[in-house]
């Protein structure tokens, strides 16, 4: 019965493009996010998504009206913010986390200033509502044609990860060794950041600024519990991301009734977080449940000495 209604929900022409789109998005953020988590830069996604706001406004100010142009503008300022963070950290003693937090808030402030200006002085711009980017638009508004940018650009990001797999892996685990081999570490670093930026801006409209960062972190953290090999972690993260996107979209449709429409972003994030928590509990060897079994008797306990 339940399976039947779920199937009919997936096949519903209003739900299908959204479910497919968020699943594709989750797969891309899962794969790209693996690197961010491994490099201890999980919150890059958070900063990028906030820093994308002035880009949307600037693109609109410069005459861009189509979705793709606005997303491109978002990507540009998101990437510029990350490049500035990396420059400030390299050239001063400001720690990475402070620089990241500052870039996030300052760019967001700049974005607000530009959006307010737009709403007041550019006719017709009132449609660029900041909330669309903060909470994510009602995913119900997503059309099949919106799928193509996600699939195309997302596929490109995954392809780039595959092409530069060896380089990105080395950069993540031993940047000094990578530099000593003559790899252009700074350019690789910016490229990897660029992929995070791409993944984030693709999901901004669907999931929203604050929740986008969760799609970078949660699938990767969950996948990390299941394997110690980067390749497997990335693949599992992509699967978890896709499942979160799909299940979250369906959940939001199930929860939505006559009384209220539930946005897709929060449900996707809650599903992804749930997967991460379950993974932390039950994953073989690392999981907390598994550890309880192993700690009896504790390996560090002194063994009974023979009389």
């Amino acid at each position: 019965m339940f399976a039947d209604s779920l199937l009919s929900l997936i096949l519903d022409p209003a739900v299908r493009p959204v479910a497919l789109g968020t699943a594709a998005l989750g797969a891309v953020t899962g794969a790209v996010g693996t690197f961010a988590v491994v490099r201890r830069q999980s919150l890059q996604g958070d900063a990028v998504s906030h820093a994308a706001l002035p880009g949307v406004a600037l693109a609109y100010l410069l005459g861009g009206r189509s979705e793709v142009v606005l997303v491109l503008g978002a990507a540009v300022t998101g990437w510029v913010a990350m490049a500035l963070v990396s420059g400030v950290v390299r050239r001063s003693r400001v720690p990475f986390d402070a620089a990241l937090a500052a870039a996030l808030a300052v760019f967001f402030g700049l974005g607000l200033v530009l959006l307010t200006y737009l709403n007041k002085h550019v006719p017709g711009a009132a449609t660029v509502r900041p909330q669309n980017y903060l909470f994510g638009q009602d995913a119900a508004l997503m059309r099949a044609s919106d799928l193509w940018p996600v699939l195309g650009l997302g596929g490109g990001a995954v392809l780039a990860v595959l092409l530069f797999w060896k380089e990105f892996k080395l950069l993540s685990f031993d940047p000094d060794f990578a530099a000593s081999l003559g790899l252009p570490t700074r350019r690789l670093d910016l490229a990897l950041t660029g992929l995070v930026v791409l993944a984030v801006v693709l999901g901004l409209q669907t999931v929203g600024v604050v929740l986008m960062s969760a799609l970078i972190v949660a699938p990767a953290v969950a996948a990390r519990q299941w394997s110690d090999r980067l390749g497997r972690v990335a693949v599992i993260a992509a699967v978890f991301g896709a499942v979160s996107g799909l299940a979250g979209t369906l959940l939001s449709h199930v929860l939505s009734g006559e009384r209220a429409t539930v946005p897709t972003g929060p449900t996707i994030v809650l599903v992804a977080t749930g997967i991460a928590l379950v993974s932390m509990l039950v994953a073989p060897r690392r999981g907390l449940v598994w550890r309880l079994r192993l700690t009896r008797p504790t390996p560090l306990a002194p063994s009974p000495t023979p009389p």
């Binding site: 001063s92 986390d97 402070a98 402030g109 200006y117 946005p263």
Partner: protein
Amino acid sequence: MNAVQFEVVLLVVAVAAACAVPGVYLVLRRLALVGDAISHVLLFGIVVAYFLVRDLDSPWLMAGAALSGVLTVALVELLQRTGLMKEDAAIGLVFPALFAAGTLLASMYFRQTHLDVDQVLLGSAEQVYQTQRVYFGSVYVRQPTLIMIGMFAVNVGLVAVFYKELKLSTFDPALAAALGFLPGVLHYGLMTAVSLTTVAAFDAVGPVLVVAFLVVPAMTAYLLTDRLSRMLVLSVLIGAAAAVAGVMLAFRLDTNTAGTVAAVLGLVFGVVFLLAPGRGLLSQVLRRWRQRREFHVTMLAIHLHQHEGTPAEADEARADGLHRHLYWTPAEVAGVVARAERGGVVTRAGELLKLTDEGRRRAREVLGERPA
């Protein structure tokens, strides 16, 4: 500046000053992103508290918000303690989840309630003139401004009382723990102060921009001084100055106040990053340029010293042949020789360059030879 503008300036300056104090410790203790997480989660606390008391004006909403901030810190620490993830991933897992839960609750149950999203997220400092006045004799202060000034006083008081403890646990946590300073208590005390400050600033600047008020003044002050006490004072001054400039600019441009202040703070940091004495980008570049020039002169001295008194000297020390031996361009050689002459390192003897005593001393020092 008219009366309305003055009231906004006063409020935003109070917000900036109150945030700048705990911000110093957030930057120094690498907790900037925890501050970010706390501010994002406040919405969750407000929604849950509203769920319980069903009154938008209840002070419990703010209490719930402050509690949710502390809860975030505790959850992040709990996840980190499992050893299954690093701190950044724990932060990235906790606050979006709580934020999502808050948004979900709000969208499912409070459709009718007017929780204005723009207002809640973006702050509304410019509407301070609509708030209650609190009179002291014939002068009055607006209620939110008074709360922020109180928050500033509380933060300054806490720092004054626990200055030594905070300083030691910030710069040498191990020693602080060994001396019995209870690092856990200090940490949670600090995070509670951050949480309360963020809550107090919520109406004026919103949860996202408050991060700029917390982090940027402290970060800027960090580039200007090595002393904690000076960093605290500078941080407050920078925050307050940017607040005044930002609010005035916002009125000029007729735009969002808090956003403009955040942008001005970013600009101030940029200028200090470029121009800070000793540590700024400009002095770094200048220092490197000067060292490069010094190094060239030293190289010339070493080259001449190596061939001094040997038969090869007639060729190796010719001013017009140096570019072949040192692999510099003739123009570079001319510049280096001119500087070396001016610096009293070499003198000209016809076609040849001769080391002065000073030049010989310099070459020997670098080569590790004993002075003759």
